[in-house]
């Protein structure tokens, strides 16, 4: 239920809400402590019921380290499986990649037993844990949070995790960002980025050309973080070099923004929420493309020197925005727009310190609007699909009814064979029509999902996993029947390898990922639908094998055929014994029953004529 009249811009309200909580200021306090007291390391403190873990922004990684920007595939380097949930990926995707150097940094901290002991104690005493860090420390905090989230997932421990970073460099690629959304962890990351800070933007550009200058910059920052009381010193780089770096990053950011919403392969990509803050407030954006765009737009308003200093000013920003609740912030730039939504966007810009007259105001407004649209469209689509699903349910019910009818029918063929040998009756063609309608619906679902127009965790939502599974169980046998009815196997090859629709393979994966290795109770009656949806295709292949068997005399071929046939016969027997098949499989005249008769007959002939051969087969069969 949604109409434009009831729409409001919430990015600023969410930012304001976060600023009104003690979370940002507590986190910053501990980041500061970690910077000053625990270089290369971390500190732990319990505040009320929350356990804070702050990582120092002073880590050994530096600009001259060739691996500072290097993305490495996570599944390859994560040999301990710390981040196991992030390893899974879909076929066409680039693997999940993260900054190798920082990952190693985290592993060093992890291997320090004090970290493991303290984390263990924290999980016992706190129901909620916040990881935080300034600069590189924030990226380490993100890795630590990903580690704990993965750990909790496999150990079923209930602890809330939140990660708050300040001015942190990027961690990984688009696949990482998507994997995090898929695990529904996006809401657990909150990256605070000030208007001009160069650090969180740095990795959008290739590092090699500017690497020599980055090292002194990092050292300068580190020095200040360790002893802020000495006040701001001069930046150890000439204005010219600074301007060069600034321009270099600006150009690459612009390039990325112009490339549009799609991420460029092999590049860094933000994930989670970004809280953009200025002296005037905070705004929260969670769409990756909009985050990149907002980073760019705000950066264009900055200057080389403030882009370096801003990295050290988070204390001021956090202080400002967390005490803002007390003052009535009036809008003094003239009239607010009529519509509530537009007014909210203008107020959000005010919070970003952008006046309506500035040239970036227009693009920044568009950026917020796009973020909102992209944030909401998937949910709206999902709600619409739910309605469509309930509309097509009667088609499915009709096929169920058809199955029940065939299962009871006097010819005792079951719905697979009835459909395969169907005549021109109205009922049969109705069922075939329904089969097409359902296929169209589900293909559309997959299409929407793969083009990111549905929520990222769509394939984890029980409703959809169950509905797609049920569809597959009921209808795939009919698809197989149609395939063999029309003789497609002769022109294209057998169904499982050459004819199976992609949707079924995808639904297989959805089902396996969510249900895991669930073992059902023993069935007392046959299942209402055969649990192995390719069962009939296997029957068809086995029948082909029997034919092949009859027409060959080559002993090695025979052995191979027998091996495969016996294999299938055994599997099928187990399925039937466990009642994992539906009643139609064992109908008197079903393809399976006919096949089984042939098989047993052939087998007994074999036993009569080729006893020694059979013993050889048996050896093969029972290793």
């Amino acid at each position: 239920m949604d109409t434009e009249t009831s729409s409001f811009e919430t990015s600023e309200m969410l930012g304001t809400f976060l600023a009104s909580t003690p979370l940002l200021s507590e986190s910053w306090r501990l980041c500061n402590l970690a910077n000053a007291n625990s270089p290369q390391s971390f500190l732990v403190e319990q505040v009320g019921s929350i356990g804070y873990v702050a990582f120092s922004g002073i880590q050994s990684v530096s600009g001259s380290d060739p691996s500072f920007r290097n993305l490495v595939p996570l599944p390859d380097v994560d040999i301990n499986g710390f981040f196991y949930p992030l390893h899974r990926q879909s076929e066409e995707e680039e693997p999940v990649m993260v900054q190798g150097a920082l990952l190693r940094g985290f592993e060093n901290i992890y291997n320090n037993t004090s970290f493991q002991i303290q984390m263990h104690a924290l999980i016992q005493t706190s129901k909620s844990i916040i990881f935080t860090g300034h600069s590189v420390g924030g990226t380490t905090a993100s890795i630590a949070a990903l580690w704990l989230l993965s750990h909790l997932q496999s150990n079923f421990v209930n602890v809330s995790v939140l990660c708050i970073t300040f001015g942190s460099p990027l961690l990984g690629n688009e696949s990482l960002s998507r994997a995090i959304l898929r695990e529904r962890w996006g809401g657990k990351f909150c990256h605070v980025v000030s208007k001009y800070d160069i650090m969180p933007r740095m990795l959008f550009a290739p590092m090699d050309p500017i690497a020599p200058h980055i090292k002194p910059l990092l050292q300068f920052w580190h020095w200040y973080m360790k002893s802020p009381h000495f006040g701001m010193l001069a930046v150890p780089l000439s204005d010219e070099i600074l301007a060069q770096i600034f321009q270099f990053i600006l150009v690459h950011l612009r390039g990325l923004v112009e490339a549009g919403e799609e991420a460029v392969a092999g590049t860094f990509r933000p994930f989670g929420n970004y809280i953009f803050c200025s002296e005037d407030g905070a705004v929260c954006v969670d769409n990756a493309a909009s985050v990149v765009k907002m980073m760019f737009l705000l950066f264009t308003m900055g200057s080389p020197s403030c882009s370096v200093e801003d990295h050290l000013k988070y204390g001021d920003y956090v202080g400002k925005i967390s005490s803002q609740f007390l003052e009535k912030r009036s809008f003094l730039q003239g009239e607010l727009p009529e519509s509530s939504y537009e007014a909210g966007v203008v107020l959000a810009l005010q919070s970003l310190g952008i006046s309506c007259k500035e040239p970036v105001a227009g693009p920044a407004m568009d950026c917020l609007k796009a973020a909102r649209r992209m944030g909401r469209t998937p949910n709206l689509n999902c709600a619409n699909l739910a309605i469509k699903l309930s509309k097509i349910n009667p088609y499915r019910a009709e096929i169920e009814w058809y199955k029940a009818f065939c299962d009871r029918s006097d010819d005792q063929m079951g719905y697979y064979d009835s459909f395969k040998q169907r005549g021109a009756s109205k009922r049969d063609s109705k069922v075939n029509l329904n089969r097409h309608k359902l296929a169209r619906f589900w293909d559309n679902v997959i299409n929407l999902f793969e083009s990111n127009q549905l929520p990222h965790d769509f394939h984890r939502q029980k409703k959809w996993v169950n509905a797609s599974q049920f569809y597959k169980l009921l209808v795939e046998p009919l698809d197989i029947a149609e395939y063999y009815r029309t003789g497609m196997h002769r022109s294209k090859g057998h169904y499982i390898d050459h004819g199976r629709e992609r949707r079924y393979r995808i639904f297989d994966r959805w089902w396996n990922e969510t249900s895991g290795s669930e073992k059902g109770n023993k069935r007392s009656k046959f299942a209402s639908l055969t649990q192995d949806t390719c069962f009939w295709a296997k029957v068809e292949e086995a029948r082909d094998l029997l034919d092949a068997l009859r027409s060959t005399s080559d002993p090695s071929q025979l052995a191979l055929y027998w091996h495969e046939i016996d294999c299938f016969a055994r599997c099928a027997k187990t399925l039937v014994e466990n009642k994992d098949v539906s009643i139609d499989v064992v109908a008197k005249n079903s393809s399976y029953s006919l096949w089984l008769r042939d098989y047993n007959e052939l087998k007994s002939q074999m036993e009569l004529f080729r006893p020694q051969f059979l013993s050889f087969v048996n050896e093969e069969m029972v290793p």
Partner: protein, 581 residues
């Protein structure tokens, strides 16, 4: 004397407000009496009960962060979200004080006498006395609202802290009791806002503030500005969180972050009348909007205001009598909302803008108020959409009723549907699925609070829900056992029963004041389980019990008499155990 008009059809006599206010203040002077009771004039129909407040921290917060507890279901059976069975929460300390009043037999007698004399009962209180008045009014409504010739009570509070959570507010609106509650709040009065702070953040200062109220020295305590800042900060978290919700934010960070902090569960209830300090009264009855006003009206225009505003926020709490005397001379009450107009007051008339100014509200505040109002409109629109589906529901129900009677010459529609071998069974299944789609959507909307608070009290929906449950649930049970779902999921009554039936059952039970019992529409699930257990110990007795229950259910039309058809599974079950011929 004149009257004060609140909203569309609510009028209160000025003399009642004045009398209530003065009695509310007077009650503090007789703490040993628990309550005072008086008529306005000997001739007038109103009787006023006023409750004393308490100024000890223990009487405000019973412990924990916010000192809230689940309501006592026996005293307040209506204070819940019916269909989803969520119980409201109230402030435990206030509830205890109310129970102490109730334990005084004189109180109940005097209230009863007023009812018998056909007088209008007015409950009132200032400060925490207001909280007692609210609970007394709810109690009064629970006891009396269904009596013939019931006269609606009135609850007038002055500077009362918040008493209950949002479920309480929903419940009061559903029962149509909400309009009985009128809360007067001075624009800056700190007390209603205190309820939005966790005790841990204000604990040590709160007692000093309460002492100030008690002794009323010239100067407010020195840490008043700090106290003010803390209270407003906590109010801002609650209000901003609520604003994100009413503006429709779906960002998961909102829920993550809120689970890390303590957010007050308390919400305003009833109508609020804000005294602007400029001689005006502004009325708001949308609870979401009131919450926003409580926060935004305490923001400062300049840093310098902090000390004087903080002091006023304490002084104003003691100022109701004088102030109201002044502005009730020529009472002007404006309403912030004009809900029944179609054009939203976006640019709003100059008047409303003035009122926003008088309350010290910024642009951001008025956006939040618009959002609160837009949400209420949206809920009404949702209700219209759902109402539009009644026709579809009735059509399907009609089909299924026909199906049921067409099966009466066989073993009944339960068994027919379970074996599903006729075309009609298939059509019945399509109707069942269609209905499930519509009802699941309604339940989802209730879960997400997308329907008006009054929805669950609407007779037409309660009736339709009952009709639906009675006719269709047996089909769901048949389907459940036909597909052997009990072998994976267990007994239907355990995890198998869909929410749409539990919910519609709860509606009826609440509306007709029935006890929570095993519903007749689940009769077949019981039969199936007994069938499975056939032969094991105690089955025979259970069947006998079920037999007596069935007679009762058939009488109530919970169950159709087709269950007694010769070949129904139920009769077979009985024959199997030698209980029928």
């Amino acid at each position: 004397m004149g009257t004060v008009k609140l909203g569309e059809n609510m009028e209160i006599k000025v003399e009642v407000i004045k009398k209530a206010c003065s009695m509310a203040m007077k009650a503090h002077k007789y703490p040993e009496k628990q309550y005072l009771f008086d008529k306005i004039k000997s001739s007038s129909p109103e009787v006023v009960f006023s409750f004393a407040g308490s100024l000890s921290v223990h009487d405000w917060f019973a412990g924990g962060s916010f000192g809230d507890m689940e309501v006592d279901r026996r005293l307040f059976p209506s204070l819940k979200y019916v269909g989803l069975d969520e119980i409201g929460r109230v402030n435990e300390a206030f509830f205890k004080r109310f129970k102490a009043v109730l334990a005084n037999p004189k109180f109940e007698l005097e209230v009863k006498k007023a009812v018998d004399d056909r007088r209008k009962v007015v409950f009132t209180g200032h400060s925490s006395g207001g909280a007692i008045a609210i609970l007394a009014t709810v109690w009064f409504l629970e006891v009396n609202s269904r009596l013939p010739n019931f006269i609606e009570p009135l609850c007038l509070t002055f500077g009362s802290p918040l008493v209950g959570d949002r479920i309480i507010n929903i419940a009061l609106r559903r029962e149509k009791w909400s309009r009985c509650f009128v809360n007067f709040v001075m624009r800056l009065d700190i007390v209603p806002r205190i309820s939005l702070s966790p005790l841990s953040s204000i604990g040590h200062q709160l007692q000093r503030v309460l002492d100030y109220f008690n002794q009323n020295p010239q100067q407010p305590p020195a840490d008043a500005p700090d106290f003010y800042e803390t209270v407003v900060k906590n109010a801002s978290s609650v209000a901003n969180y609520a604003a994100c919700k009413i503006m429709g934010s779906t960002n998961p960070l909102l829920e993550t972050a809120s689970s890390f902090i303590e957010l007050s569960p308390y919400r305003p209830l009833g109508t609020y009348v804000f005294c602007t300090g400029t001689g005006k009264l502004v009325e708001i009855s949308n609870a979401d909007a009131v919450l926003q006003v409580l926060f935004y009206s305490s923001q400062l225009s300049t840093e310098e205001e902090k000390v004087p505003v903080a002091q006023t926020s304490l002084r104003d709490h003691l100022n109701y009598e004088n102030y109201l005397k002044e502005c009730l001379r020529t009472p002007i009450v404006t309403s912030l909302f004009h809900l029944h107009q179609e054009a939203p007051p976006v640019t709003s008339t100059a008047n409303v803008d003035m009122d926003l100014n008088d309350l010290g509200l910024s642009e951001r505040a008025s956006l939040c108020l618009r959002a609160a109002e837009a949400l209420e409109r949206q809920k009404l629109r949702n209700q219209n959409t759902i109402d539009g589906k009644q026709i579809d529901i009735e059509k399907c129900l009609g089909n299924l009723e026909k199906y049921k009677s067409s099966c009466a010459h066989k073993a009944g529609y339960y068994d027919a549907f379970k074996s599903s071998d006729q075309k009609e069974d298939f059509h019945a299944n399509v109707n069942r699925l269609e209905l499930a789609g519509i009802w699941d959507e309604i339940i989802e909307m209730l879960k997400r609070h997308e329907l008006p608070d009054e929805f669950e009290g609407q007779k037409k929906w309660i009736r339709l829900g009952t009709r639906y449950r009675r006719i269709v649930e047996p089909l769901d049970i048949a389907n459940y056992y036909r597909h052997l779902k009990n072998e994976d999921t267990g007994h239907y009554m355990g995890k198998g029963r869909p929410r749409r039936y539990k919910c519609t059952q709860k509606w009826r039970e609440h509306a007709e004041k029935l006890r929570d019992e095993f519903p007749g529409s689940c009769f077949w699930a019981e039969v199936e389980e007994l069938w499975i257990r056939s032969g094991s110990q105690g089955t025979r007795e259970s069947i006998l019990q079920l037999k007596t229950k069935v007679e009762k259910w058939i009488g109530e039309e919970e169950v159709g008499d087709d269950v007694l058809l010769e070949n129904s599974t139920f009769m077979k079950l009985q024959r199997q155990h030698g209980l029928a011929s």
